[in-house]
């Protein structure tokens, strides 16, 4: 074939160069562009803003002024656009492809949510302007609270926690406050081996000792071991349900009953609520407190690691201890309780102001878009996609526990035995296939865990392609092509990074060379 303007489109010398031996003058590789640090591009004289001139004034800083150079690098606006656009292209993202991180619920982030979050009436209001001027904001918080309470079947919700782990802290503090009021000094919190690391870390912040409960062969809490561990010194159990192996805790009601009978409380980690939203209400399972990661189930953007939001639904017994602030219905509209009053039992305040309003807006828009019917479908499709992945891979990968799974499926590394390929290598090879790896080495209850959560946002074509890629990789590993894995990724902006070096000699900032 001849291209009229150019050269024949057949093989030529340049095309025969292998990608690895092909070097460029700039170090760039086509659309893959290297980008220096702002400090290596800009300087202290350059700026990307035009501010109005200073009026004549006399300083009132009390002589405590900053006179030495700070050293901030500035860039002009076009340079800023280019710098961050180039950086953005070095990231994987949901917008680019399936993001199968188990327990993270990387689903589509609808843009209407971003749009309404930027309405001046919601984005440009101050947390301490008069309550009469923010009635719409309080209405929004109240509406979100209503949705959360209805979806969980719980009577109360604390809206201020800033993230999942902050929500855990809120729940455990409410539990500790309730126990203190009962005059009981319980010292232990139970958590299954498979728990997120935040659970024990949170329990420790509340002054509790953590006792680990083993899993049974079916990947669930060993009910007998749990009952043996219960006693007058147990304050609460922290349990994720569906659990971190992607399984529904079948004995959940028995577990709740046993914990309650022993005088303890049931804290449910709601990280995996996506699997059951609109289908099961945690309140019907005997839960006393549960945080909801708005950035998972309700799709507020993960944003490269935050911000999140972690409202906590509470049972009747724990509701009085909820932190301030909270919204109430007053005679002239909505009011906000911002202080712990004399007779109040609230355990205090977890954050300045009122929590993650920007996330509340996006989550409510997501909920209203789906409605009660759509949310049930979210749960169903997420569970369907995960079971489909499981069914399509279980013949060549090793499934850790028998299904059905909920919204994520767990494999371990037994299928890689003797191949010289580790879970990490396998995950890095997925990058070359154009995927973000699944969650690896978590939960800790199986060896070399690979936890896959496709979410409901993926089409069947997308899931089929993903399955095809994994089947290909498994076949390659088993056929002895270990180099495909141990050196992976080959096609990412960078090769495998030396994390040991980073930790041994921490360089946490740029410094001017002397």
């Amino acid at each position: 074939m001849m291209n009229k303007q150019g050269r024949p489109t057949g093989l030529n010398t340049a095309a025969n160069l292998s990608p690895n031996s092909f070097t460029t003058h700039t170090g760039n590789r086509g659309l893959e562009q290297d980008e220096l640090l702002i400090y290596e591009i800009g300087d202290t004289q350059r700026t990307g803003v035009d501010l109005e001139d200073l009026p004549v004034f006399e300083s009132r800083l009390g002589g405590i002024t900053r006179d030495n150079e700070i050293g901030l690098a500035g860039l002009s606006e076009p340079e800023v656009m280019r710098h961050y656009t180039r950086l953005s292209r070095k990231n994987y993202a949901i917008d680019m492809g399936l993001y199968p991180l188990g327990s993270c619920t990387m689903k589509h982030n609808p843009r209407i949510n971003e749009k309404v979050a930027r309405l001046p009436g919601l984005a440009d209001i101050h947390p301490l302007q008069p309550i009469s001027t923010v009635q719409g904001a309080l209405e929004l918080m109240d509406r979100l609270a209503h949705w959360l309470k209805t979806l969980t079947g719980m009577p109360a919700v604390a809206m201020s926690p800033k993230a999942g782990a902050h929500g855990e802290l809120c729940g455990l503090m409410a539990i500790r406050a309730a126990l203190d009021k009962r005059g009981e000094n319980r010292t232990i919190v139970l958590a299954p081996e498979s728990a997120h690391g935040t659970n024990p870390a949170t329990a420790a912040l509340c002054g509790y000792k953590v006792k680990s409960i083993p899993a049974n062969k079916a990947g669930r809490v060993d009910l007998r071991a749990l009952k043996d561990a219960l006693g007058p010194d147990v304050a609460a159990i922290m349990l994720t349900n569906p659990n971190t192996c992607g399984l529904f805790e079948r004995d959940i009601i028995d577990i709740a009953d046993a914990v309650h009978a022993a005088g303890g409380y049931f804290y449910c980690d709601g990280a995996n609520f996506n699997a059951i939203v609109g289908k099961v209400r945690p309140g019907d399972l005997g839960v006393d407190a549960m945080h909801i990661n708005l950035h998972k189930t309700f799709s507020t953007p993960h944003g490269g690691g935050g911000p999140g939001a972690g409202p906590v639904v509470l049972s009747e017994a724990l509701a009085p201890f909820a932190p301030v602030p909270y919204v109430i219905h007053g005679k002239d509209g909505f009011e906000m309780v911002e202080h712990v009053t004399g007779g109040g039992e609230s355990f205090g305040r977890m954050t300045a102001f009122h929590g993650q309003m920007g996330m509340n807006i996006r989550a409510l828009a997501f909920m209203m878009s789906h409605g009660s019917d759509g949310l049930a479908r979210v749960a169903e499709d997420s569970v369907l996609n995960a079971n489909y992945v499981m069914a399509s891979l279980q013949d060549i990968m090793t499934l850790s526990f028998e299904g059905p799974c909920m919204h994520e499926c767990l494999f371990d590394d037994r299928f890689l035995e003797g191949t010289g390929v580790t879970t990490l290598d396998f995950a890095k090879a997925m990058i070359d296939e154009g995927y973000h790896p699944m969650t690896m080495y978590f939960p800790l209850v199986v060896h070399g865990a690979m936890l896959i959560e496709p979410t409901e946002s993926e089409s069947k074509q997308s899931v089929d392609q993903f399955i095809g890629a994994l089947r290909h990789l498994v076949t390659q590993a088993k056929s002895g092509n270990s180099a495909l894995f141990t050196g992976a990724p080959y096609l990412a902006p960078l090769k495998r990074l030396d994390e040991t070096l980073a930790a041994r000699n921490p360089v946490l900032r740029w410094r001017k060379e002397d």
Binding site: N91, M96, H126, A163, A201, H370, D373
Partner: protein, 448 residues
């Protein structure tokens, strides 16, 4: 449903592949009694247009700061955020990425964090910074816990001119830990009073600059007194723009600096999400909470960035972690660092001077009005005034006149008679001279 790609045919094929007949077969582990037979009692799905309409209706019931003369601060400030910032943070590659746990395909987020950490260290005058906390108030609580780990002592002295909600949050964060917070009553604390409270049990003193009432303090002597007792100075900054004009906490001898970074790159959004900054000395990094990004090389020796020092963190250390925090303020740090890069040294300093100049201008106008007292000797862009009337009432009346005139201190100190007539007034670059004249004129009218 526009967000759900599976068709009925897809679903049928997939169920068949799985080997079940209907979707509820996959929910068979749920106790029969708990599986809902019908939809929960909430409205059904809505079109995008209908959602848009509902949110506009709620938004219209609020008074946006930008629509009126606006003077509220007290830990959240309205600054002009260049359009570039919001455009860039909405790029899907930033917006819809997870925590950068896979560094080979997360260099965008990681390099931006590394640049952010450098900027935070520079403006606070410290050696290193982490990758951010939830907000300034929770960072303050974490700083007290960190000071205990670093000093191996338990008594934290909190200045009475620290933001009252930061005090509340710190009290709550230390409620069930070994820390013993000693909280001073609200007042403009002189450094000598705080120095007198330090003893061998003291882990740290927490102060704010400019303090909650707007005064600027030099804490150098306090730092020296603390260091003599092997204790730490924690300096809180709720208005980071001040760091472009006011001596840095690092230069005063601070060991930990926590700040609310909202002012740079982030809007008011009714109080969150914001971005907590936490900076410290290199030798204390291993006691620091939160994520941190560090430099390394890849297998070809090329420079790259990774999350590092994770042996402090909950996913490795579990109950022995330095904090239970498992996130940072990702996208808000990105907004911060983009805005700061646009400003640069020159813009940041100019912005700070402009804020100060405008505040001086308003303070002079208010002082000249009969009956209004400006209580500060020094200030940056916020100061306290006293009226001959109830301040909360005055603020309500001003709101009726479509002026958001500041934060009455009784909102934060509801039971303190001393605060009844006082207002915290903030002035940023967004305030015009006409806005100032409207406020002064309205206040004169009210107190007549």
């Amino acid at each position: 449903m526009r967000y759900l790609p599976l068709s009925p045919t897809d679903r049928a094929e997939m169920l068949e592949k799985i080997g079940v007949t209907e979707i509820n077969d996959l929910f068979k582990d749920v106790p029969e009694t708990a599986l809902l037979k019908e939809y929960v009692d909430l409205p059904a799905h809505m079109s995008e247009m209908a959602v848009d309409r509902d949110f506009r209706a709620m938004a219209d019931k609020n008074m946006p700061a930008g629509s009126v003369p606006f003077f509220c601060g007290a830990g959240a400030y309205r600054h002009y955020v260049p359009s570039t910032v919001d455009h860039l943070i909405q790029r899907g590659e930033f917006l819809t990425a997870y925590t950068p746990y896979q560094p080979e395909i997360s260099q965008g987020t990681l390099q931006a964090l590394y640049e952010f950490q450098t900027q935070v260290a520079q403006i606070t005058g410290m050696e290193v910074s982490n990758a951010s906390m939830y907000d300034g108030s929770t960072a303050c609580g974490e700083a007290v816990l960190m000071a205990r780990r670093a000093s191996r002592k338990k008594k934290a002295i909190l200045s009475g001119s620290l933001h009252p909600q930061y005090i509340e949050v710190t009290k709550c964060a230390t409620k069930f830990t070994e820390d013993i917070p000693l909280i001073n009553p609200p007042s403009i604390y002189l450094v000598d009073d705080l120095i007198n409270q330090i003893d061998e049990e003291t882990s740290c003193v927490v102060v704010q600059n400019p303090d909650f009432f707007g005064n600027i303090q030099d804490y150098t002597k306090l730092a020296e007194a603390l260091h003599a007792q092997k204790a730490l100075l924690v300096v809180v900054v709720t208005e980071v723009v001040s760091l472009g004009a006011v001596r840095s906490p690092g230069a005063m001898g601070a060991d930990i600096v926590v700040a609310e970074g909202q002012s740079i790159g982030n809007g008011l959004t009714f109080g969150g999400p914001y971005v907590g900054l936490l900076a410290t000395r290199q030798k204390l990094v291993r006691t620091m909470p939160g994520r941190v990004c560090g430099e390394t090389v890849d297998a070809d020796g090329k420079r790259g960035f990774v999350l590092t020092l994770s042996t402090r963190e909950q996913h490795i250390r579990r109950e022995k972690a330095t904090s239970n925090i498992c996130t940072n303020a990702g996208l808000c740090t990105l907004a911060f660092t983009i805005h700061m890069t646009l400003l640069g040294e020159k813009g940041f300093r100019h912005l700070a001077r402009l804020n100060h100049a405008k505040a001086v201008q308003l303070a002079d106008k208010l002082s000249a009005a009969h009956g209004i007292k400006v209580l500060n000797k020094s200030f940056f862009n916020e100061f306290t005034i006293e009226l001959p009337m109830d301040a909360a009432e005055a603020i309500e009346c001003l709101a009726d006149m479509e002026i958001l005139g500041g934060v009455p201190l009784s909102r934060l100190y509801p039971n303190d008679p001393d605060m009844k007539n006082k207002i915290l007034v903030a002035v940023t670059e967004t305030v015009t001279e006409e806005d100032m004249d409207r406020l002064v004129c309205a206040l004169k009218e009210l107190i007549k």
